[in-house]
């Protein structure tokens, strides 16, 4: 899928923030990936490692936190996760687990968020 363009955007975002904060080294980066995005975390990690060669990000620990799906039902106001297992995770946006309503909003699960970085900088 589109892990490459996402990885590219993530690297740009991180390097930009590192520069603004006079980082001399980036030790760690934390990224949040929603379970409903079409992104595979392992593939993303691999591409991030390739793309960061010879940049300030090379060798940094890449932490990927997966964000579970949370929905809100527009019929009964149920808010929360659904009880479907992982293999069916797209289906959980289809029906409310409480009332079977199909008119739902996705509240979380669509993120591709560069959350924070840990850097080393001059005193």
């Amino acid at each position: 899928m589109h892990e490459l363009s996402m990885a590219d955007a993530i690297v740009k975002t991180v390097l930009d923030a590192a520069e603004k904060n006079q980082a001399e080294e980036i030790l760690e980066v934390t990224i949040e990936i929603g379970k409903l995005t079409m992104l595979n975390p392992e593939q993303l990690r691999f591409l991030l490692e390739v793309l960061t060669e010879d940049t300030l990000l090379e060798g940094a620990d890449i932490i990927i936190e997966e964000i579970p799906v949370k929905i809100k039902c527009n019929n009964c106001d149920y808010t929360g996760s659904t009880n479907l297992d992982d293999s069916d995770h797209y289906l959980m946006i289809v029906k409310c687990p409480e009332c079977d309503e199909r008119n739902l909003e996705v509240i979380t699960g669509q993120e591709c968020n560069v959350k924070n970085i840990r850097i080393e900088k001059p005193e």
Partner: protein, 216 residues
């Protein structure tokens, strides 16, 4: 001496795309250009349908044709003497708001009141990326198999109009177009579903009416 610092970034790339999409929509609104995303599987009939709509709809139509190699589809639209921009997506599997922003700026928007944006043939990747359009039309065909709709719930959940195309050959490929239509309704009860054949012309009138109703 060095110190270690934690820097909050909180930059969501999906949100960044949405913001550009909203900006695109404001620009299109200001120019009075109603914009329709045309999404769907590879070879489902997206370009063929837009070609028919160019000829049959009474509007000043423009097209943005996103394709792996843009020259192909864009070339098909150019013969109608309308504004066309081909977007080379290359390795990319979808258009994003930033990519089409430039195309919107390059089009003579004053000469257009209905704009079609043909996305890359793909039922998965474009889902995550709003472009700023007013309406999402998803075109699938019976040749993809009649379980295509249920296998790709996300794209149908967000659709405003679903076209089940190539029903003229449904029997030959052993696909049940009724099942595909029901699956779309199941995923998205409010969506309008139209079964069509661009070979016989069946359903085209209904598609035109659905788009025109949306434009109101």
């Amino acid at each position: 001496m060095h110190k270690i610092a934690e820097v909050e970034i909180q930059h969501d790339i999906m949100v960044a795309n949405k913001k550009i999409a909203q900006r695109n929509q404001r620009m299109l609104d200001k120019a009075g250009v109603f914009t329709v995303d045309v999404l769907g599987a590879i070879g489902s009939g997206k370009t063929s349908l837009i070609e028919i709509l160019i000829q049959k709809m009474n509007h000043k139509i423009g097209v943005i044709a996103g394709d792996v190699i843009s020259k192909f589809d864009a070339g098909r639209f150019q013969k109608y003497d309308i504004p066309v921009i081909g977007l080379n997506t290359g390795k990319e599997c979808h258009l994003d708001a930033h990519l089409v922003e430039h195309a919107f700026q390059d089009l003579p928007l004053k000469e257009i009141d209905l704009l079609f944006v043909e996305n890359v043939g793909n039922l998965i990747c474009p889902v995550d990326f709003d472009l700023g359009s007013h309406m999402r039309m998803v075109v699938v065909s019976v040749t993809e198999g009649d379980d295509t709709v249920e296998k790709h719930p996300l794209i149908f959940k967000d659709a405003d109009l679903v076209v089940i195309n190539k029903i003229d050959i449904a029997e030959a490929v052993g696909a049940d177009e009724e099942k595909m239509a029901n699956d779309a309704k199941m995923l998205n009860p409010d969506v309008e579903v139209i079964k069509s054949s661009l070979k016989t012309g069946e359903g085209v009138k209904e598609i035109i009416k659905a788009i025109e109703d949306f434009m109101k």
